[in-house]
């Protein structure tokens, strides 16, 4: 390390490397926006902004939860399945006879119960990881596969369509002219930022990720903190699932949140989260989500097929993690 510190100023030609490593996200964003401004038709229009904000909000919300989990050195593969589960539950509840009879209570239940189910999923993940000491990848793999299965069993695999003005506000509402879920994501970011910087919980999240043994030996509530981050992550995923269903006015358990774990991990890592833990850049996760969404949009708007976009995404994830690894060393 010292040798490299001394080396760096001499090799002034490679000064762009450290700059790119610490500001890679912003540089990538600027490049993508410039590229689109030049080549993508109709990019600089209000409609494009709306579409992108309403899409990016769900990725950002999940990515923030993922950032907290990654900060403890964990990972949550079940976020997409949890989205499918909460998204499948909501229409089941507000389309039921009981909810038709008492619409207000029905709406509250249609938001509260799916969120509760999501939190239970998070509790399950958290207990598996912190108390049973199962590796996070394996522990969350269980719900990754069976969570979506439960959602499909509940809906019998059917697409549930609906018209419900109040519920759809989650996905189509506007506040000050911009999509409601964009504001929601921003509010969540501010709250999480305060939690991470101002509360003991936030400090312990970073401490657990930095050195779990040290955190435990110094009397930190390691188990509770780890359960906490998985519960928060699952709760945010549940919320994102509701938003996706509200945007589409339809719930498809097979597709809701599919591959979201990849988007969320990629957004968190692009935003500066270290997979080893110890860092929780909340606003970085939003930046990462914006980049992921813009890459998707750029490919789609320029007529690249969905399947090729998958491959592109794979390489973005590899590149982002590779740059992260290099920064660590």
């Amino acid at each position: 390390m010292t040798a490299r510190d001394i080396d760096t100023p001499i090799r002034a030609g490679s000064a762009w490397k450290p700059f790119l490593r610490s500001n890679g996200g912003i540089v990538a964003l600027v490049v993508i926006v410039l590229f689109n401004a030049m080549f993508t038709p109709n990019f600089l229009q209000a409609q494009t902004l709306f579409v992108n904000i309403s899409q990016v909000a769900t990725i950002a919300i999940v990515a923030m939860g993922m950032t907290l989990v990654i900060a403890t050195g964990g990972i949550d593969l079940s976020v997409g399945a949890v989205m499918a589960l909460s998204g499948a539950l909501a229409p089941l509840i507000f389309l039921s006879d009981w909810a038709q009879g008492s619409p207000t209570l029905g709406l509250i239940a249609a938001i509260a119960l799916p969120m509760l189910a999501a939190l239970v999923c998070g509790l399950f993940n958290g207990i598996m990881v912190s108390i049973l000491r199962v590796q996070p990848i394996i522990a969350t793999l269980i719900l990754f596969i069976s969570g979506r299965g439960i959602a499909q069993v509940l809906t019998n695999g059917n697409l549930q369509t609906f018209t419900h003005a109040q519920f759809s506000y989650l996905g189509t509402g506007r506040v000050l002219g911009l999509p409601f879920q964009g504001w929601l994501a921003l509010a969540i970011a501010v709250v999480l930022f305060l939690v991470m910087t101002r509360t003991a919980f936030g400090r312990y999240v970073l401490a657990v990720g930095g050195n779990e043994r040290a955190a435990a030996l110094s009397g930190g509530p390691v188990r509770r903190v780890k359960v906490g981050v998985y519960v928060i992550c699952a709760g945010l995923s549940g919320l994102a699932g509701l938003i996706v269903v509200a945007i589409n006015s339809a719930s498809d358990a097979a597709r809701n949140g599919q591959l979201m774990e990849l988007d969320a991990i990629a957004a968190a890592v692009v935003g500066g989260a270290l997979l080893q833990g110890g860092k929780a850049p909340i606003f970085g996760a939003i930046l990462g989500a914006v980049i992921i969404q813009l890459v998707k949009y750029t490919l789609l708007a320029n007529g690249v097929e969905d399947e090729v976009a998958l491959i592109a995404k794979a390489f973005i994830i590899l590149a982002a993690v590779y740059v992260q690894q290099a920064r660590k060393e």
Binding site: S146, D306, E307, L310, I311, I317, Y322, Q325
Partner: protein
């Protein structure tokens, strides 16, 4: 433990943790044979082994990866990709389609290995990206539709015909693969290096073992096994299927874990992994029989839930065994 002496019990049964899988497998087989009329019939056994041979071969590859402390999430997508490759090559016959499709799988494994060893990307991220890339690749080369194989060539012989009218060819191929890599693990320095890496990668490096070579081997083996599973899929069902393979990695991981291989690596057994894959398949086989009797009625969507539940039960069991043996270790 004395590694030099040949320990037949360990060689066949596996680790102390593996005993449970054999007991469960035999108990379930006896239960099935007593409860259902056609359970022990040649047809059920043949089709059961034929169908599960894909999962067995993938689980064996996964077993090697997990023994090094890694993971390979790309196996399902790679199998889907190679099933399409095999379907395209089927007019040239099995002797061309099989090796080239397996080679395609090995190439994906080599890509994983480069990402993990040279670029030092964590295994689950690297293989998750490959999962995505292989899925995208399968959809691109197939135009997102199933590719019918050439029925005129000998390609479907492997999946649908029996050797000497007795044993399906698929089962013979898979049995050979299983035995070869069983011996590789137990009897070669490469196999011992794989286990040493899982025990402690740093220690293995310091001892001068070819750590990187062994790690490259396991990911390429896992890719090749997934490639073979893709050939079996195309040959047995008459089509390359780009959308197949979802959740296969989970089945494979569950089979490996239920076979007593520790997820942290350093310990593992090929036959116990095969037993794990058979046990998982048997659970579904028996559920099908129960469905047939009308005792229960499960839609296809339950498969995913049951698979997850099975993995959960296995992990729960393993963590209890681990806790118990840890206590024993400290008291001794």
């Amino acid at each position: 433990m004395n590694q030099d002496a040949f320990d037949l019990r360990r060689f066949v049964v596996g680790n102390p943790q593996s005993v449970a899988v054999w007991v469960a497998l035999i108990a379930l087989m006896i239960f099935g044979a007593l409860r259902y009329d056609n359970f022990a019939g040649a047809y059920n056994i043949g089709s059961f082994l034929n169908y599960n041979s894909m999962f067995i071969v993938i689980a064996v590859g996964m077993c090697f990866v997990i023994m090094t402390g890694g993971i390979d999430l790309s196996v399902g997508s790679v199998a889907a990709f190679t099933s399409v490759v095999a379907a395209y090559l089927s007019p040239l016959g099995i002797q061309v389609a099989l090796p080239l499709a397996v080679l395609a799988g090995v190439a994906f494994g080599a890509f994983n290995a480069v990402c993990i060893i040279a670029l030092r990307i964590p295994p689950f991220i690297a293989t998750l990206a490959t999962m995505l890339g292989a899925k995208g690749g399968a959809l691109v080369i197939s135009g997102a539709s199933t590719i019918a194989v050439d029925w005129g060539s000998n390609f479907t012989n492997m999946g649908m015909n029996k050797a000497f009218g007795l044993v399906p060819w698929t089962i013979i191929v898979v049995a050979v693969v299983v035995v070869v890599f069983w011996v590789v693990l137990e009897k070669t320095s490469l196999g011992r290096t794989v286990l040493a890496i899982g025990g402690s990668e740093d220690a293995a490096t310091l001892m001068g073992l070819p750590v990187n070579r062994a790690k490259a081997f396991v990911y390429m083996l896992s890719g090749g096994c997934a490639g073979l599973a893709g050939v079996i899929l195309a040959s047995g069902f008459g089509a390359g299927q780009p959308l197949e393979g979802i959740g296969w990695e989970l089945s494979a991981i569950a089979s490996v874990v239920v076979g007593g291989t520790l997820l942290t690596g350093g310990l593992g057994s090929v036959p116990a992994t095969v037993a794990g894959a058979l046990l998982l398949g048997l659970v579904f086989n028996i559920l099908n029989f129960e469905n047939g009797r009308g005792t229960i009625s499960f839609s296809a969507y339950w498969q995913m839930v049951i698979r997850g539940g099975f993995l959960f039960a296995v992990i729960l069991f393993q963590s209890r065994v681990m806790a118990r043996s840890a206590v024993k270790g400290t008291s001794a």
